[in-house]
Amino acid sequence: MSLGRLLRRASSKASDLLTLTPGGSSSGSPGVLDGEIIYSKNNVCVHPPEGLQGLGEHHPGYLCLYMEKDEMLGATLILAWVPNSRIQRQDEEALRYITPESSPVRKAPHPRGRRTRSSGTSHQPSPTELRPTLTPKDEDILVVAQSIPDGVLASPAPEDEEKLAQGLGVDGAQPASRPARSPSGILSTVSPQDVTEEGRELRPEAGEEDGSLELSAEGVSRDSSFDSDSDAFSSPFCLSPISTALAESRGSVFLESDSSPPSSSDTGLRFPDSNGLLQTPRWDEPQRVCALEQICGVFRVDLGHMRSLRLFFSDEACTSGQLVVASRESQYKVFHFHHGGLDKLSDVFQQWKYCTEMQLKDQQVAPDKTCMQFSIRRSKLLSSETHPEESMYKRLGVSAWLNHLNELGQVEEEYKLRKAIFFGGIDVSIRGEVWPFLLRYYSHESTSEEREALRLQKRKEYSEIQQKRLSMTPEEHRAFWRNVQFIVDKDVVRTDRNNQFFRGEDNPNVESMRRILLNYAVYNPAVGYSQGMSDLVAPILAEVLDESDTFWCFVGLMQNTIFVSSPRDEDMEKQLLYLRELLRLTHLRFYQHLVSLGEDGLQMLFCHRWLLLCFKREFPEAEALRIWEACWAHYQTDYFHLFICVAIVAIYGDDVIEQQLATDQMLLHFGNLAMHMNGELVLRKARSLLYQFRLLPRIPCSLHDLCKLCGTGMWDSGYMPAVECTGHHPGSESCPYGGTVEMPSPKPLREGKKGPKTPQDGFGFRR
């Protein structure tokens, strides 16, 4: 089926149904059909931010809006954008984004079969080629469901549009070439000249991919060719079954594509020396590649959870320009419509019930070309106890995992994978396969072949380490025995005895665990062995199985946990400081209780083991490992474990406050809760706490680092709330984080509705 037919089919259904939704009176209205596409447009561009350019400035893709059932509101509007490069590769995962689950196009049974490779070829786009040209020439690719009944909402007449388009503000006079960010988080306007100029300037050398492509029915198939029922995962020394499947299926499950667009990594990752380094952060090359992959990767959001949508028109007819989506976390995404279609998009927004058009008061009326802003108002924000994306992710199973890998076995979009794991966890059957990525033994960009080579090389290295241990001099050996081996021998036989994998006398797996720990002490003599390590290594061995692989995963884990660094007190101090600040911010009553106990209370002895063993002994193993995965996903923060701590306190700490428990009593209270807490509940709470945290418009400078290392994800801009100095910076006059001292304490965010007045930060990347 051609893309055009596919779209037409989708839209014809959608148009029937759009009549029911606008003005949407009742939630859960029976007329709402999941997955109906109400708008779509090809060749909508994403431009990598300055500092990341060099791999091509235009990344065209296919954008669509579709409806999805929403528990609370009946229906919600999903915006999805998929880069052309992914469509051309017939990437199943990517295609799923634009052909939603229940969409009519997916209901047709499609025979499994070999697809013909897309015949897409690059050709030089000419300046005159403003018409969308991606696919079948006989189709108009902009598809909008148009049958809106007059009674509900008249589609805006041109005059209306003029009137609505008053958003151009005072900032228009400023020479800013990028939308500026205001303290309230609302994007301020851009001068039409700038936009126009940008648009004009870009169009000629656009270099967009115009290859026509044949989107076959199989392209939207959900089925994976890989059988998820596999016991083969437990064979330690063989090629992993998924790698094998990938190796065998090359060119069958995945299509080869030699027509990769200039944005593809195939063209060589050469970065011209950027001149923009003064304004933009310095990117290490791997970081750049990674960030670029994410920014130019699939983008999908529920518009109902956004803060605002803005349309900046760059032409007289108000058809081309930019769409800027702003999240509640003040992150932005800019879509460039070089080929029209923006007008239709504004129609859709105007008809959609929770997109409220904003009149920007306090702003001078702009002469003509303008911007439209829609702020999102939902009747009710989702419960504060739950992350709004909570139920969107299922556990990562075999087929979903395979969908994250490309034909070479590289993880296609690391950010998406991490997000999926953060919310859904990993199915037990593929933990051994995926954990090595999370533990940074395998890099995401490695191919299956490279990983096999790495395993061989690392196995050799591991046996060399072991050899070193076995060839110690008698004196060395005595010291080693006294400092390490004696305790390791005692600990391995009492670790995870309830796990079938380690049960029984003379279990060879216990012997493996012992060797890994001994070899680690040789590999890293500065750390050696400390009690608790056996707790951490045992579950990895039980999932990864292979001794050498487990060793290297353990090395990765040690590098990424505070456990290993805790010989240096300041690391633990830092964790506790962050935790205290987080409690102050999110659970003031508990924090005040700690303060009332003095220094002993603030040391929070009750949570030291939580941190040191990452909750291993607080929850039954299945739940603890779920928590590990959520932490290892490093989604939006490297400190998710602290959110888990806060969640435990929030759920189980009321007694502490009510009964005014002293330090020792708190230790007893939480100690007694170990293994009796509900891990899933705690995880959900922790995710919602992270969400709440990210909504704060300003954070104390003491928590500045909590979310800064995790990149921008699929957004163009990073997470950068205003930083407020809480004022303890020994040895430094001013706040090193540039925190301001306006307000005594940060308050939780209420939807900011202030007009954009004083743009402070440039709208762009920050790290």
Binding site: D491, D664, L667
Partner: protein, 212 residues
């Protein structure tokens, strides 16, 4: 001996028993947690190495008096040294535990004593040296005499135990409890009468808790 029944005394009945903090110190795998487990729950099993800090309480009757022991079980391999002073602070008693089959654990116990003395005033905390694992006496590296002599030189109480065989475990804690009570009574008698015994408990703990 300490478990003898007693009739509650009228003045003590409505009040809580006096609380004493006892901290277990010593190298990894010498049996600190096992001693606590044996004493508090009369159990012995394979327990995981302690990470962080665990906490038990037990009410002990000594003669006619009753006291509550708060037993802080610490990690032998504490990597986060800043917490050590938290363990020490407000401690009324410390058990320095070593493994009689490991000389280095005996030396380590002596090191713990030095650390304790650095943190606390002399006489502020009652210290007992405990040589554990007498069930492994064929592998003994520290003789009873060595332990005893060191304890005497430092004016410590001393006992050998086996948590596994339940040998002298409750005796250790009872001896400490008895000594604590005696010391406490001596202190109490000075300022006020016996009514202060019960009342004194709260403020004393409080003060120790919050002391800097």
């Amino acid at each position: 001996m300490a478990q003898a029944h007693r009739t509650p005394q009228p003045r003590a009945a409505p009040s809580q028993p006096r609380v004493f903090k006892l901290v277990l110190l010593g190298s990894g795998s010498v049996g600190k947690s096992s001693l606590a487990l044996r004493y508090v729950k009369n159990d012995f099993k394979n327990i995981l190495p302690t990470v962080g800090c665990a906490f038990f309480t037990k009410v002990v009757d000594v003669g006619t008096a009753s006291l509550k022991l708060e037993i802080w079980d610490t990690a032998g391999q504490e990597k986060y040294h800043s917490v050590c002073h938290l363990y020490f602070r407000g401690a009324n008693a410390a058990l320095l535990v070593y493994d009689i089959t490991r000389k280095d654990s005996f030396l380590k116990a002596q090191q713990w004593l030095k650390d304790l003395e650095k943190e606390l005033h002399p006489g502020e905390v009652l210290v007992m040296l405990v040589g554990n694992k007498t069930d492994l006496s064929e592998e003994r590296e520290v003789t009873f005499q060595e332990g005893k002599e060191f304890a005497e030189s430092q004016k410590l109480l001393f006992m050998e135990t086996s948590a596994k065989l339940n040998y002298q475990v409750s005796e250790v804690f009872s001896a400490v409890a008895q000594e604590l009570l005696q010391r406490d009574d001596r202190e109490d008698q000075a300022p006020q009468g016996d009514a202060a015994v019960a009342l004194n408990e709260g403020p004393m703990r409080q003060a120790k808790c919050c002391a800097h």
